[in-house]
């Protein structure tokens, strides 16, 4: 067989089933690809021995007739999912050396289905960033480069390692997490398919918390079908997470009927931004045409509170983060900086000063401020009210439409350093993804085209809460219509 790393999950699954491929071969090919792709900086910890061991078990399981969708499929795990005995540091200096005694529910579900772990994936520190530039382990490089150029681009963030590993053929799929767009925006930047399910669909147990009311696990894969297979594996109620919801997990793959005739697709007018590149506007228009051609009805809708989404997000998320990150204090695990002759407060200050990067510190300070006595009502409480209004916007819209189509991000991938000194410019990357995060509804990003420089662009599909099936169905049709066949040049191999 030619290059096993180019197979889709669905293809590999079928070959494994027929006995034409072994999980061992698949794992070996990927372990080699991971090592060869050092220059992407996608993996910050590699687990080749575990991969081969898990692959052998998968082969035995397949032989015994116990194959599941993810059995024998090599995957990468974002560094914020706890993996027992393996590097789990959310790419922060403050968690130096931390290897948990426990496994996150999401990764455990993959292992229960027989998936194979290749290693831990790079990310923005504590998932705070949109370019993977805030990682303590250095930025991930986007496998895509502009036509005729050797310049590097950011992979997006925070799931930069997840998308780069999948786009760069050193994982067939990767776990990711989305708090304000951390799955969808990097997927768009790398020509991959990313899905963030409904808040509560996947357990947060064992996921290093950024903003608890927004954090949601999801997947990065090279196509929609693979996303359906992998998301089904990691979904489901968990008694260890009070915010996970006890409703059955549908067969997502079965939703890929290719038939959206008569379905109503909403186009929110508020997503037309001033100064947005014309080619994104054009791609969106193209997407609308594809939907029409597939027999869907296009409905113009309004999500009137959209303009408040970003400010609301940048109050709620830092507020929760400021509290969630208080546990990194040097007392029990990770980094500890002692000051000669100093006391407890000195240890806290030195540890947190050395352990957190600038972006994390900025958000802790914003969050601390908005929760302070005298400011709570004006910021946090107000933001929660606006969040409710944003959620209501979607509820109302979904009374009229089955899904919503928008661009995923306002630009294609950008160069390193281009926005890292301008937090506002960086935050604006999430303008189209944040509203769905605040409302807790499912959303995907489907690769749909290239910009003038040959960099990928994505379109976003949003669905009602718990209706990932429609998101998959529409994503599948969009994928087929877009026939996105472009590949990055494999300069990193």
């Amino acid at each position: 067989m030619s290059d096993l790393t180019k197979l889709s999950i669905a293809e590999a699954r079928d070959l494994l089933k027929k006995g034409e491929l072994s999980a061992r071969e698949l794992a070996e090919a990927h372990v080699a690809a991971v090592h060869a792709a050092e220059s992407l900086n996608a993996y910050i910890a590699k687990t080749p021995e575990m991969a081969l061991e898990m692959a052998d078990k998968a082969d035995a399981r397949i032989k015994a007739g116990g194959q599941k969708g993810m059995t024998g499929i090599p995957v990468g795990i974002k560094d914020l999912f706890a993996t027992k005995g393996v590097h789990t540091q959310a790419c922060s200096h403050i968690l130096d050396g931390f290897k948990p005694e426990y496994e996150s529910t999401v990764s455990q579900k993959l292992w229960d289905d027989g998936a194979v772990m290749l290693g831990k994936l790079n990310m923005d520190e504590f998932a705070m960033g949109s370019s993977n530039e805030t990682s303590y382990y250095g930025p991930v490089k986007n496998p895509w480069r502009a036509k005729g150029s050797n310049n590097d681009f950011v992979p997006g963030g925070s799931s930069g390692g997840s998308v780069a590993s999948v786009a760069g053929y050193c994982a067939m799929g990767a776990t990711a997490s989305d708090t304000g767009g951390s799955i969808r925006q990097p997927a768009a930047f790398t020509g991959t398919f990313g899905i963030k399910p409904t808040y509560g669909r996947c357990s947060r147990y064992g996921m290093v918390a950024f903003a608890s009311s927004l954090d949601q696990a999801g997947t990065i894969t090279r196509d929609v079908r693979d996303g359906a297979i992998m998301l089904e594996s990691i979904s489901g109620f968990d008694t260890k997470d009070s915010t996970s919801v006890d409703i059955p997990v549908p067969n997502f793959e079965a939703a890929l009927t290719g038939d959206i005739r008569g379905m109503k697709i909403g186009i929110p007018k508020e997503y037309h931004l001033d100064g947005m590149p014309a080619e994104i506007e054009a791609l969106w228009q193209q997407g609308i045409e594809w939907m029409k051609a597939a027999g869907a009805e296009i409905v113009n809708i309004s999500l009137p509170h959209t303009k408040y989404a970003l400010p609301t997000y940048y109050i709620v998320a830092p507020a929760e983060a400021s509290s969630n990150l208080a546990r990194y204090d040097g007392v029990r695990y990770g980094l500890r900086e002692l000051v000669e002759g100093g006391g407890l407060a000195d240890m806290y200050e030195a540890t947190r000063a050395a352990g957190f990067g600038d972006e994390v510190k900025r958000r802790i300070m914003i969050g601390t401020y908005v929760l302070s006595a005298g400011y709570y009502d004006a910021y946090y409480l107000k933001a929660q009210k606006v969040r409710q209004l944003i959620s209501n916007d979607f509820k109302e819209a979904f009374g009229k439409v089955d899904a919503i189509l928008t661009p995923t991000a306002p630009s294609a991938a950008f160069a390193f350093g281009e926005k890292s000194d301008d937090p506002i410019a960086m935050y604006l990357n999430d303008v189209f993804t944040v509203p769905a995060s605040l409302a807790g509804i499912p959303g995907s990003s489907v690769p749909a085209g290239l910009d003038a420089n040959g960099l990928p662009l994505g379109l976003q599909i949003l669905g009602k809460a718990w209706d990932e099936e429609t998101v998959f169905k529409v994503s599948g049709v969009l994928e087929e219509a877009a026939a996105f066949k472009a590949k990055p040049e494999e300069w990193w191999r």
Partner: protein, 495 residues
Amino acid sequence: MSKFLIQGATGDFEVVIGLEVHAQVISNAKLFSGAATEFGAEPNAQVSLVDAAMPGMLPTINAECIRQAVRTGLALGAEINKFSVFDRKNYFYADLPQGYQISQFKHPIVGEGTITLDLGDGRSKDVGIERIHLEQDAGKSMHDQHPQYTYVDLNRSGVALMEIVSKPDMTSPEEAGAYLTKLRTILRYIGSCDGNMEQGSMRADVNVSVRRAGEPLGTRCEIKNVNSIRFVRQAIEYEAQRQVDIIEAGGKIDQETRLFDPGKGETRSMRSKEEAHDYRYFPDPDLLPIEFDEAFIDAARDSLPELPDEKKARFIEDLGLPDYNASVLVAEKESCDYFEDLIAALVKKTGKDAKAVGAKASNWVTGDLFGALNKAGKSVTESPVSAEQGADLLALIEDGTISGRIAKDVFEIMFDTSKDAGVIVEEKGLRQVSDTGEIEQIIDEVIAANPAQLEQYRAGKDKLIGFFVGQVMKATGGKANPGMVNKLLKPKLDG
């Protein structure tokens, strides 16, 4: 008791007291983790990943703690909130692993209620309950284990506490003490907290302010974590006097948090209002609001035992107990249990109505038995004389086998040996003499032996009958039936 006032040089001051009691919930496990909660385990032996705030760990509510808080609210006649919310109280400390305490701020699980204090002599007073909320305890910092470092024990980290907040309705150290005593009694009755202050499963934060009569409330100081009722009384006395002294010297009270030093019997400043934390409360996004229905409340109500106030009323009404005895008995659930077992056994043995024997039995339990237990330093559950045995003894008095006087001797032997009353009476030959002929013969002998006293009696010194009774009893070794002696003696003396 007259009104409690601090007499200053410039006039009298009233004291205003409110209490925040932290009561550890009796439950199988901690509030948000499955870890055990037993007292006295090796340091850090009862710590789950959640309690240690490992990355990615999430709290999940222990339903038993919710039920216990609701039961406690119901026992205090309080409003139960079907919707309540857990908030995060953010501050840094080495023994607070999460960097925040999960507590309830805006929406507590229990609202306003009342506790009726017993102030002795049948007097009572109602003290308002402001609210009860659930929260997790912190760990313990140990500063005496190493010359340079502080050690941390997380066994208590995450243990469920009820914070029971009173209204500022108390006006003396005695009332504060009575409040704690009554609250502890109720918690123990319903089994929601064991009330062991010395083990830290119940502690009080005491808010104290003073004012001249008729003036508005003064500035209060909060004395943290006082761990015995006696210390609470001492702390209030000291703190009230300290505040009066400051005001009389022309100063003003700073709102601050203080600590009570039991060794010195004084309070000292811990932190001022300016140093107070900004806790940045906000709803914990890891937990959903707590919501339950009427059926849950009804089930909690059905699980409550008879409460002390109800029990006391029943003792007085149905069993004819004196108010004082009833109060003493209901103060401890174990005392009540003993007394009720004893009454049941006594009714069965004597065939008499409970009301006919209730008062006498209560006298014996609160007098003879408690006296002996006190002297021996034993609790009622450690009594060498069981309720069944006590009933045996009282039944022997009821049926005339022994006199009350002899019963005291028998009880002493029972207390020392745990032997049954009947056995002791037989062994020692203490059975009461009720044979008319035998008693008459002894009376005749006594009268014959004391002619001078007889003459005086007959000359009008009636009181000498007591002397003759004493002599007869002495001659029978106390075994003569005193009722019969009285009945037979008088006609003979009168001639």
